[in-house]
Symmetry: C2
Subunit: 269 residues, 2 copies
């Protein structure tokens, strides 16, 4: 999916919502557990309930991998169920030396037909560039993450700037706004404006709204660009809005609340 197509979808849906499919077998409504594939049944219901409100879906691969081979079967079937107008993100945080990164890129873009994959850039350029070689596909590299541990290394002080700042500028030179996005946590409101100034045209994938406490209005204020430039993810707050038989309706209500807040923000600039 191209950047223009993604932006067009956002205008049409009046949304920049990404639904994180962090589907945990232990948190599913009990009545689903007798299904042949409870994860897939749950994901289909969530997708049906939110596909007109969300522009992207982001399965978190750990939740599938932990189930072994049947988890990968659930993942593949869930991916195939996502409507083709929606952007898909393999939240995999992959990163390894060049010949291995080649294999991961092939896995997510060819074996599975994801539009994008999250990439951990710690091993440097040859671990990132293999993900940039596929037309219409995207590497979503870690810019500044939303978790407490970001302080340990991403905030490491260099002579003139912190590591994350050095890394974002360096990575931007490896790709373009048409094949590289950055993960920037919604809990980093203080840094959002300065990161946007470094990479004015790249999209940001923004986790941390909802369960982690980030503010959507702050993210939009400091992070939006002329193409919106944001994919704001919500996972737990949507997936587990209700643990009963009305889980899909409750998920839709939460997604709708977020979409309406997004539409209101989009009207402001």
């Amino acid at each position: 999916m191209t950047r223009t197509e993604l932006h067009q979808q956002m205008l049409q849906k009046q949304s920049f919502l990404c639904v994180g499919l962090d589907t945990d077998i232990h948190k599913l409504p009990k009545h689903l557990l007798t299904e042949r594939d409870p994860i897939l049944t749950f994901n289909r219901a969530i997708i049906d309930a939110t596909a007109d409100l969300a522009v992207a879906y982001k399965p978190n691969l750990a939740f599938y991998e932990t189930l072994g081979i049947r988890g990968w079967e659930s993942l593949q079937a869930s991916l195939e169920y996502i409507p083709s107008d929606c952007f898909t993100i393999a939240d995999a945080k992959r990163g390894d030396i060049g010949n291995t990164a080649d294999m991961y890129a092939r896995a997510f873009f060819k074996t599975y037909a994801f539009d994008s994959v999250t990439v951990n850039p710690y091993m440097g350029k040859d671990s990132v560039t293999p993900f940039l070689d596929y037309e219409g596909k995207w590497a979503i590299v870690l810019g500044l993450t939303s978790n407490p541990g970001a302080a340990d290394f991403q905030y490491f002080e260099g002579h003139n700037e912190k590591l994350y700042s050095h890394a974002i500028k360096k990575m931007a030179s490896w790709g373009s706004p048409d094949n590289m996005m950055f993960v920037v946590g919604a809990t980093r409101a203080d840094e959002f404006a300065s990161i946007r100034a470094m990479v004015p045209d790249n999209f940001f994938l923004v986790p941390g709204v909802g369960a982690q406490g980030g503010s959507l209005a702050e993210v939009y204020k400091h992070g939006a660009n002329s193409q919106i430039g944001l994919l704001v993810n919500a996972s737990r707050s949507i997936l587990y809005a209700s643990s009963g038989k009305d889980f899909a309706e409750a998920a839709r209500a939460e997604a709708l609340r977020l979409q309406q807040e997004m539409a209101a923000l989009m009207a402001t600039k």
Copy 2:
């Protein structure tokens, strides 16, 4: 597997060789391609040919993931075929926020029964510690990697030291020599002695001997400790020593050459 058990195995086999199962379907001997599961057949032959010479096996997960579900089937069957006295490493470079890292730890230690998993620490403490909570299991965190891209961020200059040096010391405080090893590339001979001084008791997983050009003698000289403290990995040089029907014999010959060099080094200190 405990540190003492690993050391005992090394003494018995006079080896600290890890065989990297970076099994690439495109590099297999042609006569195997008619097998039901060529990857598994190949891995079994490699394991049979080297199990008395190697103390560890390290499947590189990208090579399995790229094949989709049948790749995971090959991986699981290969893992089950590895003799129980050998240490097993899931070379996965995983790393994510706490609740997701929990899932990855469960995946590799419970769903698959690996002894250890390689972990990318860029997201900090909460991305690493979930891997340290399993008795007899190991997190193998990135210390200083062997690839050219290591220069981009791992060598980032802080006020007093480079990032990798800061990171190794910080990570060592999160775990112990009984649940944490470090990846240190064999191509980093200049830094080996100083890294060993920082973490005298932790094992190092050392890629980069062979195809990437690192020297085994240099690694041993600067990296060995009283329990040897090294797992030196060779992948391509063993797996693809021959592309013909004699691939297993050729793999054994290369593994034997490395084991004999290791035994000679072990006799020196």
